[in-house]
Amino acid sequence: MHPETAFGVVNDIQRMCTCDGPGFRTVVFLKGCYLNCRWCHNPEGKRRYPEVIPFVGNCVRCGECLSVCPTAAVAVDDELGPRIDRSLCSTCLQCVRACTHDALVLWGRIMSVEQVVAEVEQDKTLYVNSGGGVTISGGEPMAQPDFVRAVMEACRKQGIGTALDTCGHAPWEDMEQVLRFTDLVMFDIKQMDTHEHRQYSGVGNELILENARRIAALGVPIRFRIPIIPGSNDSRRNWERAAGFIGRLGNAVLGVDLLPYHPFAGGKYQAFGMDYPYPGGEGLSDDDVAPVIDLFLEHVPEVTVGG
């Protein structure tokens, strides 16, 4: 592996997760994403590089950050709290160090493959006892394909199961090399209509659907994760097309996880002092989701709701 690919940008590593694959899992959230979904729940994961993001609620307006910033990129608004002008910020982290109230936080740590694997290995007993493992998620992990491949390869050597949580938008060559070390793919399908896909996520879906076909053809176990976003993709026509598409992919498909939209991310945007581009209203009720479940069950062996 090239030295420059031995490092990745990691947003967070969460241990003992139960929603992202079988058993107990350690989820490695990487930074950077190819898509720009309006409802995105992890806005801190979008950009590829480390960045300082304010936690507005923690700010006590002490002004320490202002005094240490060499490029005057930080401003503290009496009402809105700390703001960072990204065009000026050099990510020197002086402000993060100066802030004792956790109001300015660095998102994205440069980590080596060894560092990540060392942390993943911590829960090995738990994976063994529960059939769990590591899940690489994002952002979009395929934005750092060499790094993902290296982490997965190392985990496999340790006997740790691997899962990839991807939006599927990546060159097939990249996909292919990662899949060699992947036990399970969790694959997002958001919208079957490419124009609508482009409208809400910034790119068309041709590459995504093609990759789905190819993964299934390779025989790598795959689960589809389908967000239900009111006003964006929740039409019967879309579900019929998606179910039909998935149904034709063959035995590699383990099931479908429906992820009904919930408005919780709004709070996160607020905390970061960002505008939420998708004020989608209330969460969905069981009654809204029930017909979608039935529809998918006609085509796939298992449908779950939520994580």
Binding site: C17, T18, G23
Partner: protein, 834 residues
Amino acid sequence: MGQSTARTEKESSVEELKNRREWWFVAEKTRSKRLDYLRKGVWKKGAIGGNYAPGIKIDLTFPQLFIDKWQEHEGEAIMLQKAHALAHVLDNIPIFITDNSQIMGYIGSAPHNIVWHWQGISMVNEEIYNEEGIIPEPEEESLEILANLNDYWGGRTAVDKLARVLDPEDAVKFMSGAIGWGTPTSAATYSTKDFDYIFKGFEAILAEVEERMEETEEKLQGNPSPEILPLYDKLPRWEAMQIVLEAGIRYAERYARLARTLAEHFESDPERREELLRIAETCERVPAKPPRNLQESLQFDHFVQVLSRYETFEGAWPHRPDYIHGPYYDKDVNQDKRLSKEEALDLVGEHLIRTHEVGIFAPKWAREGLQGITGTWVWTMGGVKPDGSDACNDMTVAYMQAARLVRVSNPTFGFRWHPKVKDEVMRECFECIRHGLGYPSMRNDPVLVANTVHWYGHPVEEARTWVHQACMSPCPTTKYGCQPMRMASATANCAKMIEYALHDGYDPVVNMQMGPKTGDPREFKDFEDLFGAWVKQMEWLRNILVRTVNLGRVKDPEFFGRPFLSAIYERAVETGTDACDPSNGDRGNAWVTGFTWVENADSLAAIKKFVYDEKKYTMDEVLDALNANWVGYEEMRLDFVKNAPKWGNDDDYVDDLMVRCLREVSRHSKENRCPSNNTWPLLPENVSGNIHYANLVGALPNGRRLGDALYDGGISPGPGLDKKGPTAVLKSCGKFDHVTDGRAFLLNQRLSPTQLSGEKGYQLWKAYMKTWADLGLDHVQFNMVDDATLRAAQKDPEKYQEVIVRVAGYSAHFVDISRKTQDNIIQRTVQGLG
């Protein structure tokens, strides 16, 4: 037709309630009418926050009946004097039979009364006099009665007598309340009970006593030699045992008589009439003779518990009811088919309720430390038989199911997990936890059996009979294994160890030189000096507690006297001694309960890192900040909170210190000896002492201020300070040996209920438990109520009367604990499964 529709509606709404995880309403809808009536009929005896609920009154009939005969027999041997007084109480205390009930016996003269034991500590007697709300009407008259009683008992109680014998320095420091809890008398106590022996029946024990007495009298007529001299003291003790056993049988007969009277003259419902006759028959049979069926065995058990609590304040309830009653359940339900499962469940559910309703006045420190409950009544379930095979039975399952129906906060269960436990039993445990009961706590049986053998040398077959002596400490239920009194009165406020090490032994809170002078920390040249001071303070604190409690134990037969307990203790019956007499073969099972323990490791780590390793702050600065209670040092305090290493994150820097502290204590545990010449290991746990001690422990280097709640205890990390997730907590806790590094170690985990739903939830929990066992931990308990529910319960307590949370070592109804403890529980990290 109409009926079946109604039932479907009920069922579907139960489904909905389950989906919303409103378990308390699920219970209300699914339990039998009888259980519903009995559950709702219970008067809440646990103090709410620190106050008794409106309507709860102190029982004045009991102490007045007692003192009548007590004074009449003044001058007799204490056990005999007490036996006469107790028999008089049992013959005359008002008794009652609640509608729909099938199990009899209550301590006190009415269901809303709580009792107390005036012969323990006169300070507690005065506390009752001073307490608001519990004085029965007419108040003036009751105060007069209380004042007279207190005047009589003042100076005559067990602790008053002990304080005169203790070294005066020890007495003052022990009773300062700063360094620990303790009532070194069996007046405030708990005892292990050997039901293999007790179930022979009181008549059989009486016959045994009679035989011993005859034998002894014969010897006394023989050749005079020094050997016969102690025999003279044995005779009145045996006589005392006879008196209380006979009184116990008469007490049961009073219930039988009342039940017959009701059946013949009052009851019109034929079904209830039959029940009353069955009650009469049961109470005529037990405790005089061995039980023959489930109702008799439960009734026998409960009579024994009630009689014990007439004799003394039993603050815990060591018990293994599934093991004791399992064979009777099997006979009635599986073999003879005398009872249906539902009928059996009614009896089991009522057994929990009858226990839950017991109310004993607790002094304020105990009410704060054990919020919302009367005592730490942890019943032991599961485990193995003496031969090592699985002991779980249908009764284990029945108790778990009944617990979900009656949802009492007390008793709770501690489950003895071992690798042979069947999946169906594990599922029952999990259902209880999932239903938000907070119990069973899970105990690692192989580890604890080994631990019991290691510390006290109990033979392994006996160690395998263990029950929770209080919240946590295993004790065998055998002839020489049973522990008659609360040796755990040595309850240490461990945070004082580091506090004193940093203040040259001085305690500013009680304005007293408490610990030894171990030097001004400014003069310490390195971390080893500080650690050395810590070791000296630790030893001093343990020594004073152990000295006091050892003396209390040895003096107990002289200062208090236990006729009833002696009568049900095989070794006491055999030797004509008081059950508490350590010379009758007691093997010893003492431990020091370690409150506020983890603060030591975190504080030592913070100073080691910042003062000695990194030299970021001087000791001067640290002491100035602590003396100012961190006021004016907020930035520095946050640095100590956030950037100093904290226990529970799988960080060797602090974890190694924890292990080192534990090993120092273990070394010292073997140097401290109990009256049976056995060891005094440490058992870190807190109940809710972390709140009680909030105002008694000064500022600490872990960033804590005077008044802040301490950590929630045992080896649980500080709330919100375990940043690395639950496995890191488990791994930190797995770094020391749970057999040789201490007696037992309490670990709290809050798990998110949404993540543990369904079959997957169960499988994940089981994997978690497997990992916990792999790491060799001895204890874990779960809270599975989500933040939203707890917050809602704070806002609207009326609607959430039945939400139960695990406080630490026991469960309590959430609305019954103080706001400060409630906040503390919410603050405990919800371990983010997902």
